[in-house]
């Protein structure tokens, strides 16, 4: 970590001042990091941002070595899982508890920013965390993760082959994939009369005054902003070009004025409840929404659009072992359990999110009853991962700009 000299002087001074003034309050790891002179924000770390054309193999952590092979779960211990709400089948949890005589505590977060802040505080000692791949790099660099010991995870062979050596984590040293999903548009035919998929540019519906106050977008900055870029034919949804960013900003403010969107991540409940007729949606959530429809309501009313050429947002979530956890062995067992074909299929049935399992044939997902016929478009195909756009970690400067626009959007313009 090289540093411009003037920075070093300043941070050292403030470091001393801090040490003196604080007394009781010793700065944490991040504080120390920057005081040691890592205010290098543009160069250096940029090369560490993984992308499909820039695969990254992360160094094995020295501070948090992988666990030794051949250990058993200690009976009576606790496995602490940190995940989104409704994103893991409670039945599977109970069965794992019974099989290994452990207690699982499941804590939930609303968005990854909140999760990262709480993990970074170091107070909570979670064992297992479910991030999306774009935050993996940050977590490795901040030394928050424990490298995986592959001996415990032989079910990795059940996965689509591309996930045995993903570009964001070559050699899957820190992560295994949990689910795959696309981000598209969902609507109810009883509340929206047109067939949105037939539009020249379906994304335009979010700017159509016809649907004012009748729609919602996803409360996740990059997912929502990526959609705005895609609407304009900008396939690079991680663009750092000033003109792209300002166009995106303009259109987001326009959307606020024209259609008053709700900004939330609870579409899987709100859409079936009829709170709005149309929303940006993750494929897994629209599948899940079927189970939240009120009694007597036919699932036929739900529709989902994702570009059939695959040129949309396609992502996968991960399972990682946190270094702060006290039970890494159980975490490894749990990961392997979730990669088991049968477990994964049952979990799919509960959460609606498809696991990248070879045993689940994307062409037979509808026939197998995982997804109703009218939502066949919510199936995730392996080829999407070649054709689609991926959300990447942004360089700090751009990350800051995106976040500021998001903040402006959320402030209501």
């Amino acid at each position: 970590m090289s540093t411009p000299r003037h920075n070093q002087g300043l941070s050292r001074r403030s470091f001393i001042a801090r040490a003196v003034a604080a007394g009781v309050a010793v700065p944490t790891l991040p504080a120390l990091l920057s005081a040691c002179g890592a205010s290098d924000t543009t160069s250096g770390s940029a090369s560490k941002i993984p992308a499909p054309n820039n695969p990254v193999r992360w160094p094995i952590s020295k501070k948090n070595p992988p666990i030794k092979s051949g250990q058993q779960i200690q009976a009576g211990t606790t496995l602490r899982i940190y995940n989104y709400a409704d994103y893991l089948s409670p039945k599977l949890i109970k069965e794992f508890e019974a099989a290994h005589n452990v207690t699982i505590t499941l804590s939930t977060f609303n968005d990854e920013d909140e999760a990262l802040t709480k993990i970074a505080s170091g107070d909570l000692s979670f064992d297992l965390y479910f991030p999306s791949y774009d935050s993996l790099g940050k977590m490795v660099q901040a030394d928050l993760l424990r490298p995986l010991n592959h001996d415990y995870i032989n079910n990795i062979d059940n996965l689509w082959p591309q996930f045995k050596n993903p570009w964001y984590d070559e050699g899957w040293e820190y992560s295994v994939p949990y689910t795959v999903y696309t981000t598209g548009i969902a609507w109810r035919t009883d509340m929206v009369s047109e067939d949105i998929a037939q539009r020249q540019n379906p994304y335009d519906v979010f700017w159509d005054p016809k649907y004012a106050s009748n729609l919602a977008v996803i409360d996740d900055w990059h997912t929502m902003m990526g959609m705005v870029l895609l609407r304009n034919g900008i396939d690079d949804i991680n663009t750092t070009k000033a003109s792209d960013i300002s166009l995106m900003r303009k259109q987001m403010m326009q959307m606020l004025q024209v259609t008053h969107p709700k900004v939330t991540i609870t579409m899987y409940n709100d859409l079936p409840a009829g709170q709005y007729g149309l929303c940006q949606m993750w494929s897994g959530d629209v599948v899940n929404a079927v189970y939240y429809l009120p009694k007597g309501q036919s699932p036929d009313v739900l529709r989902y659009w994702f570009p059939s050429d695959g040129k949309g947002m396609v992502d996968n979530d991960l399972m990682v072992v946190l270094a702060q956890g006290k039970n890494p062995v159980a975490a490894h067992y749990f990961i392997n359990y979730m990669l088991d074909s049968k477990t994964a299929a049952r979990n799919f049935g509960y959460i609606g999110y498809q696991p990248p399992q070879r045993s689940i044939n994307p062409n037979e997902i509808v026939a197998d009853g995982f997804v109703p016929k009218n939502l066949a478009t919510a199936t995730v195909l392996p080829r999407y991962f070649v054709e689609g756009s991926r959300l990447l970690q942004l360089p700090p400067q751009a990350d800051n700009e995106y976040h500021q626009i998001w903040q402006e959007f959320k402030a209501g313009g």
Binding site: A22, V26, P30, S121, F126
Partner: protein
């Protein structure tokens, strides 16, 4: 904050006369009041009612059942660990916070009442500030302390307790001090004249007279803590430290079942019980006093 004994001695006769006069008017005020009561209480009663719904809906009545309290093997309050932990944690927070806040606050009220100088003046300002400032300010400040500094204040149970005590401390101080104001210094001075030590005077004379105020602040603090949301949410750690209010907030935005209404109803019954018991005990402690001085004022938090 206000003084209890400024009320007129003629209160009783006034009440009698006022009512007879009022009867003759068309009472718009009565209608407004009844409408208000309806509006304020009916939604809550409906929410309680739906906790007994046999179906999964919170808007369509599908018959009476206790399924969301006990019957449902996965999602009832009894069987869903996340729900009953929330109830237990809520009461645990209430108990711990009250146990620390009340002695600390009562001692502080006694001290600030007699101690003169710059430090107590500053402490007074701090008490008032913590009394009126929006809770989110303290919550954010403590969250920063917990997440960016290495101090004994951690996210989780004890972080929440420390935060809640800080926020609640002003209640006993304000309530006990206003009571001290009505008591005056005579009793304690008399006790010292009769040979009691300062501490003895406090313990044997002042404290017994303060019992009602201490009791009222205990009930107030407890009830307020189990209702707290802002501080406990920011300082919560994992799922085991999320009380009912946070649970309601999280699930109300996701996919709630009537079990959520059930857990809220349990809390409602719990806090009403505490308040009713508290009020009865308060009447018991103040039974010797004039009727109009033992009104409900002390329970309004305004005193």
């Amino acid at each position: 904050m206000t003084v209890l004994d400024t009320r007129p001695k003629a209160a009783v006769s006034r009440d009698g006369r006022e009512t007879t006069r009022r009867r003759r008017r068309p009472s718009v005020l009565l209608v407004v009041t009844l409408l208000y009561l309806l509006w304020s209480l009916l939604p809550v009663l409906i929410a309680v009612l739906f906790s007994f719904n046999a179906g999964k809906s919170r808007t369509v009545w599908q018959g009476f059942s206790t399924r969301w309290y006990y019957g449902d093997p996965l999602r009832s309050v009894w069987h869903d660990p996340s729900l009953h932990t929330a109830v237990v944690h809520t009461f645990r927070l209430g108990l711990l916070t009250t146990l620390i806040t009340i002695p600390l606050g009562v001692a502080m009220a006694l001290g600030l009442d007699r101690w003169r100088g710059r430090i107590p003046a500053g402490a007074n300002v701090a008490v008032l500030l913590s009394f009126v400032l929006p809770e989110i300010l303290l919550a954010v400040a403590l969250l920063f302390v917990a997440t960016t500094l290495h101090t004994p204040l951690h996210l989780g149970l004890w972080g929440q307790v420390l935060g809640l005590v800080t926020y609640q401390l002003s209640y006993p101080v304000v309530i006990v001090r206003s009571r001290l104001l009505t008591i005056g210094k005579h009793y304690e001075e008399a006790a010292i004249d009769l040979g009691a030590s300062a501490w003895g005077a406090i313990r044997r004379v002042l404290l017994p007279m303060l019992v009602p105020a201490i009791f009222a602040s205990t009930v107030l603090v407890f009830a307020d803590v189990i209702d707290d949301f802002v501080i406990v949410r920011y300082l919560s750690g994992d799922a085991s430290t999320e009380p009912v209010s946070v649970k309601i907030y999280n699930s109300a935005r996701a996919a709630p079942t009537p079990a959520l209404n059930a857990v809220a109803s349990i809390l409602l019954v719990g806090s009403l019980l505490v308040v009713v018991l508290g009020f009865l005990a308060y009447r018991f402690f103040t039974r010797g006093e004039r009727a109009d001085a033992r009104g409900l004022d002390v329970f309004t938090g305004e005193v």
